[in-house]
């Protein structure tokens, strides 16, 4: 019996020393040992090979449907005026009683059916479909059995991901988070000084680096000269809670968010001991003015870390950027936009909060191949004269969407859970009414020709 205990003890020791020596220490000093790079290279080669095999397999079996990543239908992009105008051209016009024709309904009908088949909004709240399978069961859409070799590789993948990578990653996450809590609490005991700030930054960055390795994250930062500076507001598109880890690997930010209970609460409370983050109570969140005031007070102090805000307010699936809430753009200060784009081949980073809770989500993350993403720092922006908060927000949103190769939408991310406002329908009705009645008014004012 003692023999078994001794062996287990030895194994645990070996395990921990590997983890500490090969992962933790390099993480603290920001050094990469290159394991992740090699891993990614091997992965890319394997996935390319798999894609070729699947394509070859699909050609042989002609009954297999080919994957289309670019939609089910091709839409006309004409405006209401253009489309209805075209419809009416064939119809003899009699303007005596207003410009309405029975075929006007065709326009609304066609638009409606098009939206039933494919719309711009609902697809943003589920994971992106892949053009070709990446050997994860969860993304298996229409890929059927192709060959023995592919299945073997898939099986090997399952083993590697669940039996080797998952325990490693869980260990790292555990170490990273406990380090954060312990480290920040210790630093919090120090009196305010430059040394304290420096230590606090070190603790935070180390923890995030460890967590990033815990996800096998490979992050490419672009345009580092535009990195957010103190006293500024960093604004980014939101795909998952991991965005925070991704950004904080390359800089220190003050987080903004709601106070949670449980484990999150513990982490939040300890973080705030070493450097000021902005945590709101649930009741405070409802009061927009209180929130704005606190943020304004915070950024007035130019020595404080830049705050990190996700103006979409909810997680979107990284194919588009949805409406930015104007709150963050009203408080003044310099905005540092950041675009984050994940590569879906290696793992789907999107958190579908309707489908998975936080724990299942993290498990899914830790059993993906890896997280590969690009982060672009965009040049700072400030509100120009004559521009209101909404226009400013849209300008920043477009810049981020353009850089990240994402679709720029004006729809509210809140539509994930709520119904669309009636006012949008009223806008459509108003637009149509002016088409019917416009000529009538004209007749009335001009008189018989």
């Amino acid at each position: 019996m003692e023999g078994v205990w001794e062996i287990t003890f030895l194994l645990v020791q070996v395990w921990l020393s590997i983890v500490v020596g090969l992962i933790m220490l390099p993480a603290m000093f920001g050094v990469s040992l290159g394991f992740t790079d090699i891993y990614i290279k091997v992965l890319v080669k394997t996935l390319e090979w798999a894609t070729l095999r699947i394509q070859r397999g699909q050609k042989e079996q002609t009954t297999l449907p080919s994957q289309l990543a670019n939609g089910i239908i091709e839409k006309d992009d004409g405006s209401m005026e253009e489309e209805i105008g075209e419809l009416r051209r064939s119809h003899p016009k009699n303007l005596a009683g207003g410009d309405f024709t029975l075929c006007d309904a065709f326009y609304f009908c066609k638009k409606g059916i098009e939206n039933i088949v494919e719309d711009q909004v609902t697809q943003r709240f589920t994971s992106e479909e892949l053009a070709s399978w990446n050997l994860l069961t969860r993304t298996n859409n229409n890929f059927r059995y192709i060959s023995v070799r592919l299945t073997v590789i898939w099986g090997l993948g399952v083993f590697i991901r669940y039996c080797i990578l998952l325990p490693l990653r869980i260990t790292l996450a555990f170490i990273g988070l406990s380090w954060l809590v312990i480290g920040t609490t210790l630093v919090g005991l120090l009196p305010s000084s430059n040394a304290k700030n420096w230590l606090s930054d070190l603790v935070h960055i180390t923890c995030y680096r460890i967590c990033a390795r815990g996800l096998s994250a490979t992050i490419h930062y672009h345009n580092k000269e535009n990195r957010p500076k103190k006293g500024g507001i960093c604004v980014a598109n939101h795909t998952s809670p991991i965005d925070i880890v991704i950004l904080a690997n390359d800089g220190c930010y003050a987080m903004v968010g709601q106070v949670h209970g449980g484990l999150m609460g513990v982490i939040q409370r300890s973080m705030v001991r070493s450097c000021p983050h902005v945590w709101f109570e649930r009741s405070e969140m409802k009061d927009r003015h209180a929130v704005a005031k606190r943020l304004k007070d915070y950024i007035a102090d130019k020595t404080k870390l830049p705050i990190l805000i996700f103006p979409e307010g909810t997680c979107i699936n990284n194919t588009s950027v949805m409406m930015f809430k104007k709150g963050s753009f009203e408080i003044g200060g310099t905005i540092y936009p950041v675009a984050i784009k994940y590569d879906p081949q290696f793992g789907d980073a999107f958190w579908n909060s309707a489908k998975y809770n936080m724990v299942s989500y993290l498990l899914r993350m830790m059993t993906s191949w890896a997280i590969v993403c690009n982060v672009w720092y965009l040049p700072p922006m400030t509100r120009q004269d004559g521009e209101d908060a909404v226009q400013f927000a849209n300008r920043v949103k477009s810049a981020i969407a353009h850089q990240g190769g994402l679709v720029d939408l004006s729809w509210d991310g809140g539509l994930k859970r709520e119904k669309v406002k009636e006012s949008f329908k009223e806008e459509q009705q108003k637009m149509y009414s002016s088409m019917i009645v416009g000529s009538d008014f004209h007749e009335a004012s001009v008189g018989p020709a």
Binding site: S90, C103, F106, Y107, V117, K419, K425, E427
Partner: protein, 195 residues
């Protein structure tokens, strides 16, 4: 997500739908994925609320009428067959040339059937006539609060006057067809499905 969805659709069902509607195999599987993603209750059928959840449809002035077209008289649920049958009206007519093995009888996407679909948008009580009252109600849906009752009334009167040939102050389907005979229905009531 897609994987479970397509495995619930059997090959025999796909073949039947292919014969009935003229959609291709890949179109049917893709539309089934879409159907499944709209079906939040996961019970194999869509309710009116499932359609209302599409924001661009919810803001469409005729959104309710279009949604209604999917549901047979008196029912609140539409299954995949019904869904496809309704969508089939919007297949382009040229596609019929490629698909010679359709069932006999008029294809769902013929010009006449497209016009019938549009006619039923106006015909609220499904009695095969568009009365002045029905036309007023649909017009009201399209314009909201922006036009007065009198003006809307005169628009309705003028429309019925133009179309009505047998003097019953209603528009029948044949009168509807006659009025719109020059309109390119095939193009305006068709959606280009890829593949």
């Amino acid at each position: 997500m897609g994987s479970r969805a397509s495995s619930l659709l059997r090959e025999e069902d796909i073949e039947e739908i292919k014969r009935e509607t003229g959609f291709s195999h890949s179109q049917i599987t893709r539309l089934y994925s879409r159907f499944h993603s709209l079906d939040k209750g996961e019970n194999g059928a869509l309710s009116r609320e499932d359609f209302q959840r599409i924001p661009e449809l919810a803001i469409n002035p005729l959104g309710d009428r279009i949604i209604n077209a999917f549901f047979p008289e008196g029912e609140d649920q539409v299954n995949f067959r019904g869904f496809m049958r309704t969508l089939a009206h919007f297949r382009p007519v040229e596609d019929n040339e490629k698909n010679k093995n359709l069932t006999s009888g008029e294809p769902l996407n013929s010009r006449a059937n497209k016009l019938l679909f549009a006619f039923r948008l106006y015909d609220l009580d499904r009695d095969d006539k568009i009365s002045r009252d029905e036309l007023l109600q649909v017009l009201r849906m399209m314009v909201g609060v922006n036009i007065s009752d009198e003006q809307l009334g005169s628009i309705a009167d003028r429309t019925i006057q133009e179309a009505d040939t047998n003097g019953d102050m209603c528009i029948s389907f044949s009168e509807f067809t006659k009025v719109l005979e020059k309109v390119d229905v095939e193009q305006k009531m068709s959606i280009r499905f890829l593949h």
